[in-house]
């Protein structure tokens, strides 16, 4: 009897999740005694998230290697399984069976704790993202703040890894990582503040709800990325999130041609795998936040497509951003650490602060009523952010006399 109820609840839960219905877990939870319900509920929420993102992680590593291979005119991994799709499994097995080496002079406890301390916050960050219409693990009033708070605590883990290894490359890598992450956290937060300001809420659910309208007969979504401040904020958010997740061209903490592997130099086996996983999880989380803040979260791009389950849109947008990250990684060389910091402080920070002003102007010009007001608003915002962009860009490159050069030839 109980077992029948359990399976009925389980089926209903899956059905309701698949069809975007609310209260998915209610019937299943009713099977259990009330005292056990909070724990069961938590397990039911957490395990699919970890499972889905772990699968996504495996797929992304494969996608990245395949994509980079194709960008570089190679085939990419193609040995394990058909078209190499079992490559992540092979990688995982390799990682798990490798010897776990702790350097003799390392600080063993901190060396052990660092990957754990890194993995926990990156997984915690998934707690506040709305994955679908009724799929929010924790609907928190200060959700965005929570996200940034847990994101900030990963820096300490990287420092722990770099310092405890007692390796000069690790130490240099850790110092670079901290400098970089602190610098880019500010533009990251400020560029999302413009969204928070317009939406008037720190709750991801509320922010998505505000992007749920459609204009022009359902063909233009009301996403924040389609406003001038939103576009600028989105681009800055993307650049800052590349830096936050240590992806190329901001992969200087683990720049393999300079610092071997930075803070990961002395890690092997499962601990290395944890770092690797945390890096990808961080990338997913920050892309998920970008989707939430700027790309309308789980909303479909056109109104008539809303019949497709909402989580499909969320994950499609997420993977789109991940592909963009891979594409960038396959193209650009790495910045130097001081240029990186200059870029953060002299370009990103002023521009993101200015973007706040643009967002405010956008907010207060909403009352414009004359014909062509929408276009005028748009152009005003674009000019307000575009002119300083050109000016700051010129100033940043002009300060060091960086120019296009011509060359002499002797016969």
């Amino acid at each position: 009897m109980i077992i029948g109820e359990f399976f009925r609840g389980l089926f209903l839960m899956i059905w309701r999740v698949a069809t975007d219905q609310p209260e998915a877990k209610a019937d299943l939870l009713a099977v259990f005694p009330p005292s056990a319900r909070p724990v069961i509920s938590a397990v039911l929420t957490v395990s699919p998230i970890i499972g889905i993102f772990a699968t996504l992680f495996a797929l992304t590593t494969l996608l990245e290697r395949k994509g980079l291979g194709r960008i570089q005119n190679r085939l990419g991994p193609n040995r394990v399984g058909p078209f190499g799709i079992l490559q992540p499994v092979a990688d995982g097995l390799k990682m798990l069976t490798k010897e776990d080496i702790i350097p003799r002079s390392a600080d063993a406890l901190v060396h052990f704790l660092a990957p754990v301390v890194l993995a926990v916050p990156t997984i915690l960050a998934f707690a506040v993202l709305p994955y679908g219409r009724n799929l929010v693990p924790v609907d928190m009033d200060a959700g965005i703040l929570f996200f940034f708070a847990v994101g900030a605590s990963t820096e300490l883990a990287i420092f722990m890894a770099g310092w405890s290894s007692r390796n000069k490359y690790s130490l240099l890598g850790a110092m670079r990582a901290i400098a970089q992450m602190i610098s880019y956290e500010i533009p990251l937060i400020i560029s999302s503040v413009s969204v928070i300001m317009i939406a008037g809420s720190l709750s991801p659910v509320e922010i998505i709800a505000q992007q749920g309208r459609y204009l022009a007969g359902g063909f233009v979504p009301h996403w924040f990325v389609l406003t001038p401040w939103g576009l600028a904020g989105f681009i800055m958010f993307l650049i800052a999130s590349l830096a936050e997740s240590n992806r190329s061209p901001f992969d200087i903490p683990e720049a393999e041609s300079e610092l071997i592997a930075g803070h990961l130099t002395e890690y092997s086996g499962f601990k290395y795998a944890l770092f690797f996983m945390a890096e990808y999880f961080g990338m997913f989380a920050v892309s998920g936040l970008a989707v939430t803040l700027f790309l309308g979260g789980w909303h479909a791009p056109f109104e008539f497509l809303e019949i497709v389950p909402s989580y499909v849109w969320f994950f499609a947008k997420l993977m789109g951003l991940v592909c963009l990250f891979i594409w960038v990684r396959g193209t650009v060389p790495r910045l130097r650490v001081d240029q990186l910091l200059n870029f953060a402080w002299k370009f990103m920070l002023p521009l993101s602060l200015l973007n706040l002003v643009v967002a405010a102007v956008w907010h207060f010009t909403a009352a414009w009523e004359f014909p062509g007001a929408g276009l005028g608003r748009w152009l005003l915002g674009a000019v307000m952010i575009g002119v300083p962009y050109v000016w700051l860009g010129r100033a940043l490159s002009g300060s060091k006399k960086i120019t296009q050069r011509t060359y002499r030839f002797a016969d």
């Binding site: 901190v110 928190m140 009033d141 200060a142 940034f148 708070a149 847990v150 900030a152 300490l156 809420s201």
Partner: protein, 220 residues
């Protein structure tokens, strides 16, 4: 609830004590971060979400990082060679106990402890924002001004230091720790530049034009 509080409080206290007493500065800083996290957990337990997250963001994400960065830049996290406890620790403990007793006495006898607790407020972020921007706007501005002034001061101090430190690093590095000296290739500056010049001169006939600048260089 009580048990959770006890665990968090114990963790916070233990890590705070460890932050004071461990010999390795980096360990101290890490323990301090744990203590900050414990405090944040307490705020969250009191349903003060905003303060709790701000605590994590500011104290773990910024202050603790700043502390370890400072340690890295100055001492490379070397453990101090001597014990961190001073010789007159008995006097210290005595004073601490005395202060604790006085405080306990004062708190117990004050009227605050007799007053009943007000109903638990559950402030939303929006309310906090409204309060900050209306009732507390002056303190907020003053704090902002103070922090800006401090930042500018720090920048000025750092700029001065850089100016005074701009010597020839290479020489100081050599003096600093008699490292095996590399025969400086700069010495070639004084060497004779004529060899290539004469070679090119003799072997390349006149119809091999060289730009003006190169002639100068080669003739030097």
């Amino acid at each position: 609830m009580q048990a959770a509080f006890a665990i968090i409080a114990a963790l916070t206290l233990v890590s705070a004590i460890a932050a004071m007493s461990l010999r390795n500065l980096v360990h101290c800083a890490l323990c301090l971060a744990v203590a900050f996290a414990g405090l944040a957990a307490m705020y969250l337990q009191l349903d003060a979400q905003f303060v709790g997250f701000a605590q994590v963001l500011v104290y773990i994400g910024a202050v603790a990082i700043l502390v370890v960065f400072a340690i890295l830049l100055t001492r490379s996290g070397q453990p101090v060679p001597h014990s961190v406890v001073s010789r007159s620790w008995i006097a210290g403990v005595a004073i601490a106990v005395l202060v604790f007793c006085v405080l306990t006495r004062v708190i117990l006898s004050s009227s605050v402890s007799q007053r009943s607790l007000p109903a638990k407020p559950s402030p939303t972020v929006r309310e906090i924002g409204n309060q900050l921007m209306t009732w507390y706007v002056l303190p907020l501005q003053v704090i902002g001004l103070l922090l800006t002034a401090a930042t500018i001061g720090a920048v000025i101090i750092a700029m001065n230091e850089r100016k005074s430190a701009g010597g020839d690093h290479r020489v100081t590095a050599d003096q600093g720790h008699g490292h095996g000296h590399l025969a400086a290739p700069t010495g070639l500056n004084e060497g004779n530049a004529t060899s290539i010049a004469s070679e090119t001169g003799s072997e390349s006939p006149a119809h091999y034009p060289q730009p003006e600048r190169e002639r100068e260089v080669l003739a030097k």
